[in-house]
């Protein structure tokens, strides 16, 4: 019995070590100052931080990678979330969207935050700092609403 556990343990350990060699693309590149959301809309430092901490990991070309995000299979799952997230909305490239698209994106952003669908709960589980408090939500939403009306 004990030897079985030992073998299972060793097999799992080997598997765990092996999957560490599965390559993942790190989501990191230069920020274009002409199209980045927080830069072009000159947001306050508070708004900038909220967006960067709660949204930018999956919705921009730059993810902050703490050590546990580099471990497999977490890195792999994260990579999928990021590529999906960027496809829906990329804050680094927001300035390149047409006005029509900017407005509809803002509408969706506001609705996702209002309904607590974003940031994803599985993300805030690990990144508790990304969780928006009620106050932060209100501030962010009213700022986003103003922005949307101004486009």
């Amino acid at each position: 019995m004990k030897s079985k556990i030992k073998i299972t343990g060793i097999v799992l350990l080997v598997l765990f070590i092996l999957i560490q060699f599965v390559p993942t693309n790190h989501n990191q590149s230069d920020v274009d100052e002409n199209s980045d959301f927080v830069i072009i809309y000159d947001s306050s430092i508070e708004i900038k931080q909220l967006l960067e901490v709660s949204c930018y990991d999956c919705h921009s070309n730059n993810t902050v990678y703490p050590w546990y995000n580099k471990i497999q299979p977490i890195a792999y799952l994260l990579e999928n979330h990021i590529s999906e997230g960027k496809e829906e909305l990329n804050f680094n490239e927001f300035g390149n969207y047409s006005d029509r698209r900017k407005k509809s994106k803002l509408k969706s952003i506001i609705s996702q935050i209002e309904k607590d669908r974003m940031p994803l709960w599985s993300y805030t589980l690990i990144h508790s700092e990304a969780k928006l408090t009620k106050e932060q939500k209100q501030k962010l939403i009213s700022w986003l609403n103003d922005l949307r009306d101004s486009i």
Binding site: G9, L12, R100, S104, S111, E114, L120, S122, N145
Partner: protein, 175 residues
């Protein structure tokens, strides 16, 4: 030593299954959300005149385009260039009115086909640019309508309605 290994393997197991479980729960959550939110959405539909008390939203989950839009939509139905787009749009609208998620998605697929079959060779300069902007947005909304639960379909239908209305006013003079 043996103890350590067992503990370690248990930890590994748990970690692995937790990550798997978190993915599965994502889907479950949306499924149960669907029911709750479907109920929430139905309520504002009944009080069209009490527009103010919807908190931050200036927009509603009301599937009907404005009176003005409705007229132009009926006209556009007879416009040859636009009719496949308008027909598919109306199919989505009717599906959402009937709370039918699948039918709305089917209508969405038809709308994508209609857009890809749209002949834009008569459009030039500004009109062409505007058409491209509108269709880009409309297609994006439609893709969401195809893959989303009904309450999210409704959100994107709102934006789609604006796009289709703008498209109609852009193309009403085209033959």
């Amino acid at each position: 030593m043996k103890h350590l290994k067992t503990t370690f393997s248990i930890l590994l197991f748990t970690a692995f299954f937790l990550t798997l479980a978190s993915c599965k729960n994502e889907n479950k959550k949306t499924a149960s959300d669907r029911q709750i939110e479907a109920k929430e959405i139905k309520t504002p539909n009944h009080n069209h005149n009490m527009d103010h008390d919807n908190g931050a939203g200036h927009h509603h989950n009301d599937n009907s385009p404005s009176q003005h839009n409705r007229k132009s939509i009926i006209k556009a139905k007879n416009n040859e260039v636009l009719s496949p787009i308008v027909a598919a749009y109306i199919q989505i609208k009717e599906a959402l009115d009937a709370d039918n998620q699948t039918a709305a998605a089917t209508g969405g697929k038809k709308l994508l086909v209609a857009f890809s079959g749209f002949d834009k060779s008569n459009l030039k300069g500004d009109s062409l640019n505007e058409y491209l902007e509108i269709s880009e947005s409309a297609i994006e909304q439609t893709e969401h309508i195809i893959k989303s639960p009904i309450e999210h379909q409704r959100e994107h239908f709102e934006t789609l309605s604006e796009d289709v209305a703008d498209l109609i006013s852009l193309l009403k003079d085209e033959k």
